[in-house]
């Protein structure tokens, strides 16, 4: 620790150069933090899904409706604890511009028993039962549209046309906080199943999918095959998957984001490695006589090596901490913008490890040069 002052002074030897180098390292770690935060949020969304919830949809496609007559059969399937029909509603709400919002029409009575999501209060779901044209909003949407309970929220659906006209007159009956579990089915608006089903111009008496809760999560895949077997070779074949599998698939559909992010990060750090390495090399070259004096005073070769690597470490860690800190401050924006919860701790930890790696790789060549320096030659100006 007593050498820290020496290290710190070395970092700031040329303030202009140090600031520029710090800025480029901060910049790189900010980008790393944001990209990696996004990926971690995406993976987190998969991990946050319920282990005991299955989704039954048409084998043909997720947009293909299933007759509601299948519901009693599903409920009677051994191993099924509860099941609820869902219509994919996906609406558009116009404020200044039309904003698309994910939404589902659910049956208030069976929904609460099926989805063990403590973040949507039972009272809000129950309110849907009393107000047929009610809608329950996640808090961030309510804040975005400046809506509160009791306000009207005329919605267009991306899928369904209302018999009465073009908009689905909906009234806000509940606003829920969705912090812990922003799963694919959370953080969306909820409407009344019967109201949407009876009001739409087509596909009446069908559900887009069924949510099924199993009694024993470890037997989930057996229950899924059992459900599908009952509808095999019927006009409405089903495909039942766990909520987790579905979430993983839908992310896979977007493309190989993990690869893209790694490639970008790789390019950024490749460039940074040279940038920091060149700066350290130049700094060591300029200080040749000073390093020779330190050795004269009795600093060993390895002490000089350590000193230079420590400079690189202090600089990289200092800048990485700032860059990652800035990224962490922007994580809530990822949540509001995309709906993913970012698990900050692993991102920051990997970032700091990366900073250590960067410091070692870029600091070692100059440090070895400093270590090998011959006192006699350096003092004689050779």
């Amino acid at each position: 620790m007593k050498f820290l002052h020496l290290v710190w002074v070395g970092v700031w030897r040329k303030p202009g150069r140090a600031l520029l180098t710090l800025a480029s390292v901060i910049n790189a770690f900010l980008l790393f933090g944001l990209l990696q935060g996004f990926v971690s949020g995406m993976n987190g969304a998969v991990a946050d899904t319920h282990a005991d919830v299955l989704v039954t949809a048409s084998r043909v496609s997720q947009l293909e409706p299933l007759p509601i007559s299948q519901l009693p059969t599903i409920r009677a399937t051994p191993g099924v604890r509860a099941a609820t029909p869902v219509i994919i509603f996906h609406g558009a709400f116009r404020t200044q511009a039309a904003v698309n919002v994910r939404g589902f029409a659910v049956d208030p009575v069976s929904f609460d028993a099926t989805i063990p999501d403590e973040t949507i209060p039972a009272a809000d779901v129950a309110a849907l039962e009393h107000t047929r044209n009610g809608v329950v909003l996640p808090a961030r949407l309510a804040a975005l549209f400046r809506l509160k309970v009791g306000d009207a929220m005329p919605l267009k659906s991306l899928l369904w046309v209302n018999r009465d006209g073009q908009a689905w007159p909906q009234q806000v009956v509940g606003v829920y906080q969705s912090n812990a579990h922003d799963t694919l089915f959370g953080a969306a608006l909820l409407a009344n199943f019967d109201y949407v089903d009876q009001g739409r111009t087509q596909s009446n008496g069908t559900a887009s999918l069924y949510m099924v809760r199993v009694a024993d999560p470890s037997a989930a895949s057996q229950v899924a095959s059992r459900i599908d077997a009952q509808f095999a070779n019927s006009p409405n074949e089903t495909k039942t998957e766990s909520e987790r599998q579905l979430a993983a698939d839908s992310i896979k559909q977007i493309g190989d984001i993990g690869f893209v992010v790694s490639a970008i990060t790789g390019a950024v750090f490749f460039a940074l490695l040279f940038s920091v390495g060149a700066m350290m090399m130049q700094s060591v070259r300029e200080r040749t006589p000073e390093l020779a004096v330190l050795k004269t005073l009795g600093f060993t070769d390895s002490a000089v090596l350590t000193l230079i690597v420590a400079e690189s470490l202090v600089m990289c860690l200092f800048a990485a901490a700032i860059g990652l800190g800035l990224a962490a401050m922007l994580f809530p924006l990822i949540r509001v913008g995309i709906g993913f919860n970012v698990h900050a701790a692993p991102v920051l930890l990997v970032g700091l490890l990366l900073a250590v790696g960067l410091a070692l790789v870029s600091g070692l060549p100059p440090a070895i040069r400093g270590m090998r320096l011959s006192i006699v030659d350096a003092l004689a100006g050779r």
Binding site: G16, R17, L30, L31, N233, K252
Partner: protein, 389 residues
């Protein structure tokens, strides 16, 4: 000595010294190469989508959709199609038939070749006159056309590459019904290569759909669009909206291409910022390392501006080759590279326009990275610089 000759001689002197500063100079070259390679690769995805969407190729085609819903299960009856066919402005083929084709697209699940999972693909039912309305780039690469009424289909090249059981002669089971693959087609890398195509009425019957989803028409000339649109929208029996095919394609892909552009420019911008810091470092140390030399030139009567320009030239001389290396990397690695994204497969495109953008990006980095050091070189107090080491 003329100003230009001064610039030339000072610049030549600077550049001759470049090899001795190779390490530091390489930082800028590598940095710019990385930025340009990453940015062009990301933007190349968007360019690939736009190229594949192609809507702009057919200014004479328009699409009729149900107004209200954005994704529809199908809402045009044969009667509706007949009404649309009577609207003014529609081109007629050699036999005098109006060029109007109803379409019935359904989503089907196919076995992916990679990973073993399933993916959604679109199965398009095309009207009888459909093949007459295809662009010149559409052609069968193998087999023959499907015959209406039979469970026969043709597959696009991209779909064939992505999914199992789609070779000509194969039988593929879609919702319990076996379909025979009778042909394969290409359409210049267009997005329709991702789909399976068969006869519209056969598809409707097989999937128990009551109605078509959209109607595409070919107009006598692009200028007839407004007339056609007005006729349909004023018809009280139809609740429709009419769009040019190009506008429709652009609207459909806007969220995707918009997002891709945003990511490309955002990442490219943030990375460029980092490289600017590195370039500033390089050029500042280049100027610092030549304090005496610059001061000597100034003392000899060289114009300060000539010295500044020479610094800027050196900055560009590092950034531009970097951009070329980056563009070459992006082009070699990714141009024509197939990507699967959002259920579509298409080829990335590193276009000349993008390469130009990369050069401009690099020029901006060179400009900003060289400007402040150039100013320092000019404002250097000559006497001090000559005295100190």
């Amino acid at each position: 000595m003329s100003f230009l000759r001064q610039i030339w001689s000072v610049t030549a002197m600077n550049l001759a010294g470049l090899p001795s500063r190779a390490g530091a100079s390489l930082v800028t070259v590598i940095g710019v190469a990385c930025v340009v390679a990453v940015m062009l690769s990301l933007l190349g995805v968007g360019a690939g989508v736009r190229h594949a969407a192609k809507g702009a190729d057919r200014p004479d085609q328009a699409i009729v959709l149900t107004s209200g819903a954005i994704i529809t299960m199908g809402s045009f009856s044969p009667g509706d199609v007949a009404q649309i066919a009577e609207a003014p402005g529609i081109k007629r083929d050699a036999a005098g038939k109006p060029m109007v084709q109803p379409q019935a697209a359904v989503i089907v699940e196919l076995q992916s070749k990679t990973g073993g999972g399933t993916n959604n693909a679109s199965f398009v039912g095309s009207g009888e006159i459909g093949h007459e309305m295809q662009g010149a780039s559409f052609h069968l690469t193998k087999g023959r056309m499907y015959r209406p009424g039979l469970h026969e289909l043709i597959v696009g090249d991209a779909a064939q590459r992505q999914y199992k059981n789609l070779d000509v002669g194969d039988t593929v089971v879609l919702r319990g019904t076996p379909w025979t693959v009778v042909g394969a087609f290409k359409d210049d890398g267009g997005l329709d290569e991702n789909s399976l195509v068969s006869d519209a009425d056969t598809v409707l019957a097989a999937f128990a759909r009551p109605a078509y989803q959209s109607v595409t028409v070919e107009l006598a000339s692009p200028a007839d669009f407004q007339q056609f649109k007005d006729a349909l929208t004023s018809n009280p029996q139809l609740q429709v909206k009419v769009q040019r095919l190009a506008d429709y394609a652009a609207e459909q892909l806007k969220p995707l291409t918009g997002l891709l552009s945003f990511i490309g420019y955002f990442v490219g911008g943030v990375m460029a910022l980092g490289v600017i810091f590195g370039a500033l470092n390089t050029m500042y140390s280049a100027v610092d390392g030549r304090r005496r030399e610059i001061a000597t030139l100034r003392a000899l009567g060289f114009n300060g501006a000539a010295v500044a320009v020479s610094v800027m030239v050196e900055s560009f001389a590092l950034a531009i080759p970097g951009a070329l290396i980056g563009a070459a990397l992006a082009w070699l690695l990714f141009s024509g590279h197939d990507i699967a994204m959002a259920g579509l497969s298409f080829a990335m495109q590193v276009t000349p326009g993008l390469i130009l953008l990369g050069l401009i990006w690099a020029a901006v980095i060179g400009l900003i990275g060289g400007l402040a050091p150039a100013i320092r070189a000019v404002t250097l107090p000559v006497a001090d610089a000559l005295r100190t080491t």
